[in-house]
């Protein structure tokens, strides 16, 4: 009998499993920090976490509360600056970028700026932060977010961070570096990717106990479905133990 887990814990574990060892990953605030820390402790001990205010190669012993705090450069290889980090991304060094978002569309465009009209918004959110820079210059962007029809929408209110914009060729036409773009979306229901020909979001794997119908019902646009669907296995006892005891013992994110 395996341990009980929360939807958030599942998200963190799925995110952590996507991290590749011996790569540099740009870590946004929130769940990406937990996923990176868990990955470093189990799957990718040589992961180089990169934080936008200058932390490079930290050992994530204590969970960062801010992308610029001391924990982002704990026992790190380098403590530099925003310009250096963003320019390193622009030069093509950083393979993965982990970010969140309030809304996402079928091309992986993300909104963290406003709900409603920009001039008189219904909800004013924080804005781009480093997300637009990550989505513009990082090779493969991974979004981690809860899955429902408020978040997965036909038309997002504001394209804060570019996904594939309006479809094939749109990123290149806009001037974004070739070969970059959204790679995966890790959600409370599934893991999704993007169809190579159409750049549209595609269901790749279901979370434990979740059906295709359920994913469709919680997605506000027409979803492509992979020919063969994988199944994401639930958090292992080891993942949950490390997450609860080592990654976030103070329950900051629970």
């Amino acid at each position: 009998m395996s341990m009980e887990y929360s939807p958030k814990e599942l998200l963190i574990c799925l995110g952590a499993r996507l991290v590749e060892d011996h790569t540099m990953a740009f870590i946004g605030t929130g769940i990406p920090m937990l996923a990176a820390s868990l990955a470093q402790k189990i799957y990718a001990p040589n992961l180089v976490p990169v934080f936008e205010f200058g932390g490079v190669g930290a050992v994530l012993e204590k969970l960062p509360l801010a992308v610029g705090d001391m924990r982002t450069f704990n026992k790190a290889l380098q403590a530099s600056s925003i310009c250096d980090i963003m320019e390193t991304a622009q030069r093509g060094f950083i393979e993965y970028g982990f970010i969140g978002g309030a809304q996402i569309d079928m091309y992986g465009n993300l909104n963290t700026t406003v709900i409603g009209d920009h001039a008189k918004p219904k909800v004013r959110m924080p804005g781009s932060g480093g997300a637009n820079d990550i989505g513009s210059a990082i090779w493969r962007t991974i979004a981690i977010m809860p899955h429902d029809t408020r978040r997965f929408v036909e038309k997002i209110d504001f394209v804060t961070t570019p996904g594939y914009l309006t479809g094939p060729g749109a990123r290149e036409a806009a001037g974004l570096p070739a070969g970059t773009g959204p790679y995966r979306v890790v959600t409370s229901l599934a893991t999704l990717g993007y169809d190579e020909a159409t750049c549209r979001m595609k269901l790749l794997a279901l979370n434990p106990g979740v059906t295709v119908e359920q994913v469709r019902q919680n997605t506000g646009f027409e979803l492509l479905i992979a020919d063969t669907l994988e199944e994401n296995h639930p958090p292992t006892d080891e993942e949950l133990r490390v997450l609860r005891e080592d990654v976030d013992p103070d329950k900051l994110y629970r």
């Binding site: 801010a66 781009s128 932060g129 989505g135 210059a137």
Partner: protein, 327 residues
Amino acid sequence: MTEKVVRIVDEGLLPLIKPPDPEDLRAANRTRDKGLVDKRMSEDEAIARFVEDGMYIGFELYGSVRCPMSLVRALIRSGKKHFDLAGQGVHEADLLLAAGIIERIDCTYIGQEVYGVSAPLRRAVESGQVKQVVEWSNGAITWRFKAAAMGLPFIPTYSMLGSDTLKYSSAVAIEDPYTKRPICLLPALTLDVGFIHVNRADKFGNCQVDGISGFALEMARASKRLIVSTEEIVDSEVIRAKPHLTVIPWYNIDAVVHAPFGSWPGEMTGMYERDEDHYRMFIEASQKAEATDAYMKEWVHDLPDHQALLDKIGRARLDAIVIGKGA
């Protein structure tokens, strides 16, 4: 001869809050005192001397990390207002917004990270109290400072291309004459007054920062006037012993304010951690306007100066966050 033109391929819709003016920065820098003079003064004196209503201001790093919070509180207490703000902000932006002294924002991120969206930002923008919000990315706003620091009018980047972040900014994208591909041009951003908190400085303003330098180097050099607060004032011999550690030199600085625990309730690299209890208390208060006002009265307006704040917090609580003591 045919005239050749550079083609604009995309353009932000919003007017520039602060148009680039490299000549103006050059002229201001020409008149700055290059002599080694003692620039130590209090928060109140620095603000009285260098800050005027309606100026364009900015703070570094941000509210929970190495932020000049004693200067933020003193600025609010001064009653000066109608400021434009370069908004990479957390706690400091919340206090300025709650005080109602911000008119327009060049915004990249104003929020509370782990604790979510900023309620003071929501109230100020959704009510129309803040008259204009212009969007940028974190990279973009820092490169805007870098362009100004280079003494130039703009800098190119891939960031913001194709997005609404560009559409609701004041940037332009052109066809780059070299690669023939679209590239985003960011206008240089010069601050009338910049505020930065550092680990240590001498009385002339030679500054050292421990750990990441965020955007201190760029913002300092993009500021027509720069007020620095510092945890420690050190003898110039300390600076001269390791000149490679001087990240902001004296000639770029107009005031040096001695402010131990100046980043409180935020953290300071190697010195103290952030005061999480107070931070959470503020976040809770900030959810409602009345509770925010009560917080502002108790923790900003009713205290005459930074020392009064430290006395109110108390030695025991400060010790609890000091690295090597309580933390």
